[in-house]
């Protein structure tokens, strides 16, 4: 058998391509074994276009914003002509500002209430109760839930104002509570309900997919042992979809934390009782024109998001090594 490419010495068979790789598993080979034979270089090429866009239109403005956060930059007025670097003044001002702190507290309520409990909870409940349904009921429910998700926010804001209106809102008409000022007496509850309504679709779809990963046999084993629904959820379902729960909570918390839509319904009011951080920033940056201060608060929000993400990763991401 004639060899065409490798050297004749049989003791160094394969030297043509793998001399560097011999007995040295750590050395990267020219081609890395991945399914499509992509290799690092080509993989880089695949990532590049997206990365360029991200760096240019995401990272650069983000860094710029972080820089603005240490200045007293304003959109108009004297500070616009000649912004000064004020160091961490904005940050100390924000942290010392009662309005910021109450806003943060409201935001946390908003995230906990509408994202964690509302969207994730309701989304899971819907996915769970529809898990083995395939009829028109399922399609109608899913379509409505998804409709709430895809309609533009400026439109849905009007819908909710119409729903919760004090004088002739649909809700009051239904509940027989004329004059009940939902948006004024319970502003946070209202925007929490609103955001639950608006964003449940994502969780529903995610959990719908996740529940398909729970082998029916596991649930049935628990049922045969006599486990109640709650016990099944706790012992079988949750451990199985832990990763999905993590993704879900991470994304929806992030999105909810930065969601500005409640502004369109309550405008942060009454008396800032629903002024969550994005609304606060909007008022500071756009109405007040204090861009430097707004940027600083944005960066604080980023840090808080980071903390939330880390908390999630800690509590939900652990025990992974143990399972392997």
């Amino acid at each position: 058998m004639a060899r065409t490419t490798s050297p004749p010495d049989p003791t160094t068979a394969g030297a043509g391509g793998s001399a560097t790789g011999r007995d040295d598993p750590g050395t990267p080979l020219a081609r890395r074994a991945d399914a499509a034979g992509l290799g690092r270089a080509r993989a880089g090429g695949f990532v590049l276009p997206g990365l360029v866009l991200i760096v240019l239109f995401l990272v650069v403005p983000a860094l710029w914003t972080i820089y603005l956060g240490v200045t007293n930059y304003r959109l108009t007025g004297l500070a616009a002509a000649d912004p000064q670097v004020v160091g961490l003044d904005n940050y100390t001002a924000a942290l010392g500002d009662e309005r910021f702190r109450s806003s943060l507290w409201l935001t946390l309520q908003f995230v906990l209430g509408s994202a964690v409990i509302g969207q994730a909870g309701l989304g899971f409940a819907i996915a769970w109760s529809l898990r083995d349904r395939h009829g028109p009921v399922r399609r109608v429910v899913e379509a409505l839930v998804l409709l709430a998700w895809i309609l533009p926010s400026s439109v849905v804001a009007f819908l909710w104002i119409a729903l919760l209106d004090r004088d002739a809102g649909t809700l009051n008409a239904l509940l027989g509570t004329p004059g009940m000022a939902w948006l004024l007496d319970h502003p946070m509850l209202s925007v929490i309900l609103f955001n639950t309504w608006r964003g449940t679709a994502f969780s529903m779809m995610l959990y719908g997919a996740a529940l398909q990963n729970v082998p029916p046999s596991h649930l049935e084993t628990a049922r045969l042992a006599g486990a109640s629904t709650w016990q099944q959820l706790r012992d079988v379902v949750f451990p199985r979809i832990r990763g999905h729960v993590l993704t879900n909570l991470l994304l929806i918390s992030l999105w909810t934390f930065n969601d500005f839509t409640p502004f369109l319904i309550t405008a942060g009011g009454p008396e800032q009782r629903s002024e969550i951080l994005p609304v606060y920033v909007f008022k500071i940056a756009l109405s007040g024109g204090e861009l430097g201060f707004g940027a600083a608060i944005s960066f604080l929000m980023l840090l808080i998001n980071l903390v939330i993400a880390l908390v999630y990763l800690r509590t939900l991401g652990q025990r992974r090594e143990a399972r392997r």
Partner: protein, 387 residues
């Protein structure tokens, strides 16, 4: 420990699939019973209906002397082992085994003792702190068994428990399972699509097709006298040869060759009847020299079965009809050359005749199943389902 009685059991899935079609079946107390059949025949559905995981749309299920048709699965006192074992990946072996007891609200220490005890019985001591992911397939299967055993159910239900094991492990697990069941003496219903497994393990076998039972009997019965061509083709590590034939006097003509008419069928056939002649490859003898009254054909494939070989021959079609295949098992050292001609003679008393797919001259004249309880069974009435 309890007998299981199914009466007119039917299950129609919401989509309209009739997965069980009016089944009648009795499984004796302490019996090792196999449900065998091709994919989609309703084996799993039947097992799950016994477990209560599916709700019967008609008929009744009785376990021991309780009618459990409308009982929740958790209250039927059955344990089930699933094909994928359904071990909870986030729990240790000990927690897995103790899980049913946890649901029954036993204290932690009692659970631990019970788990350790059950694990010891199944040779799992030392693995108690591992998680399922750290176990081999065979070990996983035993943990699943241990979990099922831990709560001492009346009935064990097993859905293809061996099919996820690799070929070698499967054999070991099979012997192990049989021993275990014998020792526990618990009623055991076992689903498989592998006839070898059913033959090797079961006291009795129900062969199913399309939601109905086609034959119930001991392994020997279903192997030697399949009640119909369906069972004949399904049972046996190599399927039975089923050849078109015609009755001619006291002989039957197969592919132009006259073979003796099987004894039990003699009374029910007439001259000129078109029948199917069935004979297992194991019950054929292959000769390399010409022989009278032997089927002869060309050797096309020889497959090594270990200490024997499976030889496929092409029989020339009689009267210009297209040829048919015939399979013969030959012992070691007697393999013919590929392409050579072989002469095949059926062993006496091992051939069967079928007409319209049903065995001719079966005991009881056409009723599937038998009242005879298999060798290992300890009693209980057996009712064959009307096909």
């Amino acid at each position: 420990m309890a007998a299981i009685t199914l009466r007119r059991l039917g299950k129609v899935y919401p989509g309209g699939v009739r997965a069980l079609d009016g089944l009648d079946l009795s499984i004796a107390d302490g019996e090792f019973f196999a449900l065998l059949g091709p994919s989609g025949c309703g084996k799993t559905t039947l097992l799950r209906t016994i477990a209560g995981l599916e709700v019967a749309t008609e008929g009744a299920v009785q376990i021991g002397d309780r009618d459990v048709t409308n009982l929740q699965p958790g209250r039927r006192d059955v344990a089930m082992v699933f094909q994928d074992y359904a071990l909870f990946p986030h729990m240790t072996v000990e927690e897995n085994i103790g899980y049913p007891l946890r649901i029954k609200k036993l204290p932690r220490s009692a659970r631990r003792d019970k788990a350790a005890e059950t694990a010891a019985e199944l040779g799992l001591t030392g693995l108690l702190d591992r998680r399922p992911g750290q176990l081999s397939g065979g070990q996983q299967q035993r943990v699943a068994l241990a979990r099922a055993m831990a709560c001492h159910p009346q009935v064990f239900l097993l859905d293809e428990p061996l099919s996820n094991l690799d070929a070698r492990l499967r054999l070991e697990a099979r012997t192990f399972l049989k021993r275990l069941q014998r020792e526990l003496g618990v009623t055991c219903v076992f689903v498989t699509h592998d006839q070898a497994e059913a033959l090797a393990l079961a006291d009795r076998i129900a062969v199913m097709e399309g939601g109905r039972i086609r034959q119930v009997g001991t392994p020997v019965e279903v192997f030697r006298r399949p009640a119909n061509t369906f069972v004949a083709g399904f049972i046996g590590s190599t399927p039975m040869n089923l050849l078109d034939a015609e009755v001619a006097g006291d002989a039957v003509v197969v592919a132009g060759t006259r073979l003796p008419l099987p004894e039990p069928a003699r009374a029910v056939v007439a001259d000129g009847d078109r029948v199917v002649y069935g004979v297992r490859p194991e019950y054929l003898d292959l000769h390399t020299a010409p022989l009278d009254d032997a089927l002869s054909g060309r050797v096309v494939v020889v497959e090594n079965l270990g200490s024997s070989s499976l030889v496929s021959l092409d029989l020339p079609g009689g009267d210009g009809v297209a040829g048919v295949g015939l399979q013969v098992v030959v012992p070691e050292g007697r393999e013919p050359e590929l392409g050579s001609t072989g002469w095949v003679v059926p062993r006496a008393g091992r051939s069967l005749l079928y007409r319209d797919g049903e065995l001719l001259g079966a005991d009881g004249g056409g009723v599937v199943g038998s009242g005879v309880v298999g060798a290992g069974a300890t009693g209980g009435g057996v009712v064959g389902g009307p096909a």
